[in-house]
């Protein structure tokens, strides 16, 4: 069975990335281990923040954006931790690295799978926060959803890179937050600022400068992390 007889053409960058993302999501759908723990964490965090909140001191509209993005950050870490952990079982990562796909495809596939995962968690977190803090989501939710995707791009770019770096260490679960959290700041800060303005019904002009910062960091993180990723896998 010579290779030429069965092999058509190797998948391109995006096709390979889609294959890897679909595989990761299929595994998560099958096991549901990370999604269930992330959702449980999200709901518990909303409840704890709610009971720690003094409604007479801070208005819900001022507190909720911060709560939302803190929960987003830490539940995102749960997703990112599992991203390369599932490749370490039985060294499945070796099969990916030995295959003819580019290492950039592996990064983009992993990041895409994480993006879907993080957005799913945020899709549950937003209604939960809105319910507890009585937020006016009507008319705002499409913009909030778009903002979530924009913030998630930056978060998963950095998080996927550091997840790959941390995965071969003994303390991966501790190392990932220590490496990634400082890089989440330029993503989470503008996202929280835009959310506050959206929920307060302020004009979009006020949010636009923060949104530009967020999109700029998205672009920088996505490109830099894609280019840096192949070097994280060197022995």
């Amino acid at each position: 069975m010579p290779a030429d007889a069965v092999v058509r053409a190797r998948p391109g960058l995006l096709r390979a990335a889609l294959l890897i993302a679909a595989k990761d999501l299929a595994i998560e759908l099958r096991t549901r281990s990370a999604i269930l723990s992330a959702l449980a964490f999200t709901l518990l965090a909303v409840v704890i923040f709610f009971f720690a909140w003094d409604a007479t001191a801070v208005a819900s509209i001022d507190l909720a954006p911060g709560v939302l993005w803190v929960i987003f950050t830490f539940s995102g870490l749960l997703a990112l931790n599992r991203s390369f952990a599932l490749e370490q079982n039985d060294r499945a990562l070796d099969a990916l690295l030995a295959s003819p796909v580019d290492r950039e495809s592996i990064f983009l596939g992993k990041a895409l799978g994480n993006l879907v995962f993080v957005c799913l968690i945020q899709a549950c977190a937003i209604p939960a926060v809105a319910l507890f803090y009585n937020l006016p989501l009507t008319g705002v939710w499409p913009a909030l959803l778009a903002l979530t995707v924009a913030a998630a791009v930056g978060l998963v770019s950095v998080g996927t890179l550091f997840s790959a770096m941390a995965t071969n260490t003994r303390m991966a679960e501790l190392l990932l937050p220590m490496l990634a959290l400082p890089f989440f700041v330029p993503v989470v800060m503008p996202a929280a600022q835009v959310t506050a303005r959206l929920l307060a019904g302020r004009p979009m002009d006020e949010a636009w400068p923060w949104l530009r910062i967020l999109l700029a960091f998205d672009l920088v993180f996505l490109v830099a992390c894609t280019l840096a990723f192949p070097y994280t896998l060197e022995d």
């Binding site: 069975m1 010579p2 290779a3 030429d4 007889a5 069965v6 092999v7 058509r8 053409a9 190797r10 998948p11 390979a16 294959l19 595989k23 299929a26 595994i27 099958r30 096991t31 599932l86 079982n89 039985d90 060294r91 499945a92 070796d94 099969a95 990916l96 690295l97 030995a98 295959s99 003819p100 796909v101 580019d102 060197e234 022995d235």
Partner: protein, 271 residues
Amino acid sequence: MGLRSSTLRARAVIVNRMPLAAASPLISAASVTAPSAPMLEAQGVTRVYGRRKALDGVSLSLPAGSCLALFGPNGAGKTTLLRILAGLLRPTRGTVLLAGSPTRGDAAARAQVGLLSHQSMLYDALTVRENIVFTARLYGVRDPLAATDASLERLGMLERAEQPVRALSRGLQQRVSIARAIVHGPRVLLLDEPYTGLDEAGAGALTSLLSELRAQGATLVLVTHNLAEGLALATQAAVMRAGRLVRQDDREAIDGASYAEEYREMVTNAG
């Protein structure tokens, strides 16, 4: 056995009795001559971890349709060599060429290699079929489903195709790993202890599969501790110790019984 094989055996024995430091360059210079252009070639491959040399100037040249059985004690560098041949590890020095192209950094060269490792390299939450189809798609196999079923059938695993990998025994997982390694029709197959966990029927099926692949022109590198299994398929045999190739012979130059004795002596006494 003719004059050539006698000479080869004599050379192997000379190498065996030499100190390791002197033996390695002699073997590189006088390695078994390939009858045709090499399909897989390692030139002076060295791999250093910190101060330790895991591989030290290993050179190989394997033509298409050949099978190298690689023997050696634990820690001899066999798995490191296999990982370098597969392009998973970068050699500190030296090069690995597959049909003239470097395996590392060349996706087209990697597409021609099949790898079977110590670990199953499978996703245990996915089914047998999902695992193999995923690999087939990564390699751009023309009809991934048909190729998957064909490779599973060859390993007697088609009826278990819908079972999750985690539900399978070690031996059955090994069969799935072999099916994964051959689904894209590799020209070079790198096998690290392929008989691990296989029952008698599985081992027999694997031997006949590998013989068939070799007859079709595939080049095999077979790492094993079992001399009989290795020699049954081999066209060349080599022994590694302390990161060096300390002996390399054509198969026809080898007498099974004396080779086993010499191997045992070499592994325990050399160096």
